[in-house]
Each structure stands twice: as C-alpha cells, then as structure tokens.
Symmetry: C2
Subunit: 475 residues, 2 copies
Amino acid sequence: MTPEEFRAAGHQLIDWISDYRSSLDQMPVRAQIEPGDIRKSLPPTPPDQPIEFEDMLNQLEQRVLPGVTQVQHPMHFGWFPSNASLASVLGDIASSGLGTLGISWESCPALTEVEQVVCDWMRQLTGLSEQWEGTIHDTASTACLTALLIAREKASNFAQNRGGLQAEPKAYRVYATREAHSSITKSALLAGFGMDNLQFVDVDPVNQSMSLAALASCIRQDLTEGHIPTAIIASVGSTGVTAFDPLGPITELARQHGIWVHVDAAMAGSAMLLPECRSLWDGVEDADSISWNPHKWMGTILDCSLFYVKDPDLLIQVMSTNPSYLRSSVDSEVTQYRDWGIPLGRRFRALKLWFHLSLDGPEAIRMRLRRDIGNAQWFAAEVENTRDWKVLTPVNLQTVCIRHEPVGMDADALDQHTLNWVDAINQSGLAFMSPSQLNGRWMVRVSIGVESTTREHVKALWTMIKEQVALSLQE
Amino acid sequence: MTPEEFRAAGHQLIDWISDYRSSLDQMPVRAQIEPGDIRKSLPPTPPDQPIEFEDMLNQLEQRVLPGVTQVQHPMHFGWFPSNASLASVLGDIASSGLGTLGISWESCPALTEVEQVVCDWMRQLTGLSEQWEGTIHDTASTACLTALLIAREKASNFAQNRGGLQAEPKAYRVYATREAHSSITKSALLAGFGMDNLQFVDVDPVNQSMSLAALASCIRQDLTEGHIPTAIIASVGSTGVTAFDPLGPITELARQHGIWVHVDAAMAGSAMLLPECRSLWDGVEDADSISWNPHKWMGTILDCSLFYVKDPDLLIQVMSTNPSYLRSSVDSEVTQYRDWGIPLGRRFRALKLWFHLSLDGPEAIRMRLRRDIGNAQWFAAEVENTRDWKVLTPVNLQTVCIRHEPVGMDADALDQHTLNWVDAINQSGLAFMSPSQLNGRWMVRVSIGVESTTREHVKALWTMIKEQVALSLQE
C-alpha cells in the first residue's frame, strides 16, 4: 500500500472511528453473540486476492463490531474502567504511523527519551518523590512478574547466574492476600516460587485489607522454619473490592527483614493524581517497586502500565542482555529499556501518554476522576438507604460492591438471586456489571468510571437494577 | 476530547503520517542526535494547560522525528527488517479506535475469535499442519519465555503447584547454541533454570548451526550426571548470521528423551510463506512450540509475534488463572487467550494481521520476499567477486554477513578497520548496517528486506561501501 492509498483509506477509517465513538451508546454493552459466531463469519482460509478498503471497513462494521463488548459505553460498569481517551488514541495512531523499532536507544532515541520524560511527568502528577524511575510495560501482570523476578534474584544473591532456583536449598516465600489480583499467583508460579511458597495472608474482615498481625506472624513462622521471606505484594485498590493494604506498616515490617515490597496499584494509581486520595497509599515511598495502569481509570488506551523502581541497577542486573549486534558507542550514556522488562522489541507507547496529558491536560483528567468518585458516593448512599440492599465493603474509590438481600433468603438462594438479576441486566445489553465473589458468596461490583458515564447514567443504572430485582423476585 | 474533535485531529494526523511516509527516504537513516537531546527538548514538568492539536503535531515533527532511526527507510539494512506495512498500520489504527479490552472472551469476543482465525490463516500460509494452534504475543522474547515455562513445568511434573523449582533436587537443563538470540539466555535465567544449566551446544563452523553430535554428547553427559534434559531452543534463522539449526535430527533426538523443542523462527518464519524455503525448517512438525514475528520481514507492524503449540491444554495448565470476576457461563466453550501468555489485558492485535493479509494479499507479500532474496543473492555475488571482500556465512535468506579483509592486516587491525568503515556510513545517515561479531571478530550484517528497498538501493549501498572502505584506508 502506498502512502497515498493509505491517506485515502486513513481518512475513511478516521471517519468510521469518529462515527463509531459518537454512536456506541446506542449499541448493546455486552456483545450479543454466541461463542463461535465471529469465527464462523470469517473465511476458514486466508484471502487469495487483496480486497478493497471499503470492503475491509464493511467487514469491520458487520463482522467485528457485533463481537465487541463496548467498554467505552457509558452504561459499562464491569471489571474496571478501561478508558481509551481519544487524545491517547491519537498518540497510539502516531505510534503506529511512525512504525518505529524499540530494541535499543539507537534504534529509536525518541522512543526511549519521551518514555523517560512522560514516566517522570506521571511520577510528579502522582506525588512520588524523585527517587523513583519508571518505564512502561504492557500490563500490571508483566510488571508484577518483573518485580518478583527482581526480588527472587536479590534474595538469592543472583542464583540465576549460578544453578538457578533449583539449586537453592531454602524456600523463598512470597506474601499476598487472597484479594490480590489473579496475576500475583500467576507471577509467583511462573517465577518458580511454587504454590507452597505463596503465603496468603489473612485480611481484615471489614476492609479486606492485609492484616499486619497476620503478616508478621507468617514472616515469624517462616523465619523459624528456615525459609527466606522474599517479597510482599501489597494491593493498592484490590480488584474485587478496591481494598487498600496498609503500606506504611507493611513497608516498615519488610525493611526489618529485607523483604521486597511491590505495590500493585493497577487500578488505584489513577486516584493518586488527586492529592486528597494519596493518604490511601501512605508508605509507598518505602516500597521497592510500584505498578499502575493509566490504561484503566485514567484513560490512556491499553496497553500502558507504569512500572517504577528505586534501584534501576538491580532491575537491569536481573533483566539485562547485551549481544554484539545491539551494542553501540553510546551504551554507557543511555537507558536501554529492553533491560527494564521482558520483551526486546518495544512499541512507542510513550506517545499515547504524551498526547493524552498534552491534549486533555491533567486538570480535566482530575475533574473526571473526582466526578466518578462523587457518583460512586451518591450511588452507595442510594443503595444503603434502600430496604434489603447492602453496600458490602467500604467505597474507597469508584467501585461499589452491592447485594440485594431479601429477608429470609438462605445463602445459596441468595447467590442464585444475585446471579439472576445481574445476568438478566448483562444479557439485555442495556448495562453491564461484574458479578464477583466475596468470602465465597456472589455479589455485584458496580465499577463507575467510564469517560462518558455521567450522574444520569448512574441514576439510570440504579433504576434498572431495582426494576430487575423486582422482576426477578416475581418469576 | 469529543469524537468530532478527534475527527478533525485524526484527519490532520493521517495527512501527517502519509506525508511522513512519502518523504522519509529524504531523512537520515540513523537519528542524528546525541543522548539526552530529545529529553532536554521536552519540559521537565507535566503540562499545566491542554495544548492545541496543531501544537502537538508540531512537537511530533520537531522534537520526536529527529530522534527516530528510520527503520522504514529503503537504505536501512540494520538488525532485521521491521516493516510496518501501511495496510497493517490501518489495522493497528482500527484497534486503537475500537478501544477494546481483551481480558476474557466475554470482554471482546471478536478480539479472541479474529485472533483464532488469522493465526490459523498464518498456519496455512506457512505450510504447518492442523495440529498447531496459535496466538499472538508481543515479541518472540515473551514467546520463548513462555515455551521454557511450559517445558519446565512438564519436566518437573508441575513443580509450580508444589514447592516450585527451588524444591527440585535435580538440575533441569536447557540447550541452545551461542548463535541463539539474546532472549534465549534471558528467558532461561528468568525462568529460573540458572546459567549453569543453560548448555551452549557447539556449532558447525561453516553454517553456525547446531552440531547434532555436540547436542547428543551434551544430553548423554547430563543424563549420566543425573540431570534432566528439559528443553532445546532451535534457532531457525539466527540473529547473527541467519543460521538454521537442523530441526529434523534435533526433534528426533529430543523425542527419544522427552525433551521440549521450541523453534525460534522469529526472523525466518516470514520465509515460510514461500514453499521453496520450507525445507529450511524440515522437521518443524515434530517440535513442540514455534514462535515467529510477522512484525519483522513480513511487515505486520510491531508488536506481532505468533506463538504456536501442539498441546494448548498443557500451555493453559501452566498459565491459567480463573478468578471469580472473570468467570462467565460460556467459559467451557471458548478460548481464553489470557491463559496462553503472561499478560491478562490484551490489545486487539489480530486486526493488523487481518488488515495486512486482506488489503495487501499474500501473493504481493510473497513477491516482495522473493525480491529481497534475489537482492541478497545479487549482493553476495558482487561481494564475493570483489578482491579482498568476503561473504562469511551462507546466505540462507536475505542477510549477508560481509568483511573487507585487506591482505596483511592482523585480526585486531581488521576489527578496527571494519568498525571504522561501517561507523562512518552509519554516522553519515545515508545508510545503516549492524556491525556484529562472528567467532569473536567484528563483521557487518547487511540485512536486506525493508519494504521500499529495491535493487537500486542495494546497488547504491554496495557503491557506498566500496567508496567508504577506500576512504578509510587512505586515512
């Protein structure tokens, strides 16, 4: 395809995207299709002849769009917000258009240096001190795995350079609560710690946050048994109920034993743009690494996960490679981000953060986050003031965990009732929420924060929920 | 930013990209800047007020572009081709515009199912049998790490579900040659095997491909010493010299001992679109996993690395997570790609492959690949027929490893001479090649295959090289 053909097609595509984003609130939130529908709609063999761009756009519209769950829809309250702000989309498009290759500073100096700059801007915007240096990973899953790899190598005095983990006579232990994200377990297993060495620390029954007494007891027992306490994953805004593990006491305890503390703030990092929320991660300065996702609530399009460390040298020591075909005369003067994560080749992700911050401006982003917190508080108050309804956990940010608990319904029937009403709404396509478990029982997470979600949408959701619950009870 | 504001800005951006791609052959290939230049050109603090899009575009042009090494430039012969075909760029833009969230089938069924379809199209286009199922990773580095994690868990009967690698009394061994990509060592270390257990197998001195006798000897000795041969990484088109490890004999030997074979075809996978090249990976059907990068020579914009396995159940057993907030009623009927790799959240990468194959068509891609192979053969013949010049390794595909060896120059002087002339050209910005080491001595890799590189560009390069060498010798 020539640049002129690209120009013509690109203009059509921009119009298509703009029309799509203008009208997506008319679409069902959850894709209204069955497994296999999209797959069956596409030819089983590759194209033989090229097709025209009009045909490509038609296929995008007719075959792909019905299979998209509209997470940018104002009635989407599922999982966590995954905002793709249009300013950041422009940055992503610029990245695609440039077609750069990030394998070393030399292969695209701008890719490295704009990333350094915007990571530092984000550091300042979230009130972190200058001791932190950042990079962009694809997801918090990868960032957490990276953190555990550093912790593993630090604790084992770089076993990777000898016989690896398998030659280590002692057990390296990792601590997290059961409220921690699924990627924590996955990371611990992939990093080779083993399930037996992932210690699930008890939580405070009200807040679902890590119990310091339980953590201290776990560490004490492990030391007694000759194990090596290696890493604590502290959740700052857990996925289930947005719980905040107490970073201050955790880091203090960790320091006494030389334990690595990784702060998983995937969701709540966005809130740290608001000075009034920063007390929620008091103690963060004493942690060793932090990850959080601008691609969630803040709205820099996926994939964009910030990863900060205080000691990049240690990170690089664990992750570095330096083959001859990547060496250059400036190596000692520059940052090689390939040594800050797993992949060698990297996209120019910094552009989307740069565009987002520059075109929308931090103040507009902060105002939107405050709007969402206000909406969550309004919604929680409505729920709490309605008979038989409960808000189950503290509303720390913008996610409200609710349950309708009719008098006299036993636990199993209640589980069924909860799934019934939420599934009915989700299936309707009018709104979407995530059913989730708390203490082994189903509840519903209402996660407010899509860019286009206003108070009116939240009000409409609450009306819809009450009507559906009444309907479900009649059936 | 509203959809209408996005529309206006998007049209400007498309024009900018199209103009840029039309004129990039007028720019220096290697960025002509010093470390820190870009960083210093940007404000050290985040923007306070939003800026206009025109200003953003100006900054992109004036501050970023000078810091881009133009890997889409027809005179770029460095590393490996990293083509960003404009058809695939359109697919990438569509992905950004949709702003989808890939964390489960339910969160975007189309993301999963289009990926299944295009991975299968690519399987067919490269002549692989139906026993392979694929997914898209960001890079071959991640794919290789994933392969080693599967191999580790298979060999240890899922130590991850017990005490992890650290509780294993035996040493798990990984085999590769020193020609294998740097990510192989990195993956083995990150996966916890340890440097002592990464066995570098000797290569054939002519082809730089893995010596089967050396591999057999390593395995035999490891078995004698009670170690567990776990994985072989076979390079299919090595990074240094495009060497091909002999897959047929390797897989036969591996089968006898139950060793996992991962085929790293990051570069050479593209060649398998050409039936006449497929003998180069004879035996691939008997391997256990394969990765290769359409984002290299084939030209589907980075990041797009295909990862195929024959036994997805085993992969899923190693990588799976299933928290309550991600469960849905269709789980048993659908593919959850989160369980095929490390990250939970995934972009809609399949769109760029789909657009690329549909808009350009496979035949045009094949013709281009054949053109590049022809150009490499022409270039190699020119070099070989010129006095004091040598082609150092077999030209299996499109990369030619060369050295100018004046009579009577000792090895150290020759190293300096090689670096002198290649650095002079690279610094000029007129062309770019990668100096690299072979048997500890510097040579120059001329990697042909940028989409816009024609025979004329290769001729111009050869003239430039000869002129520069003459100049260097005069100094």
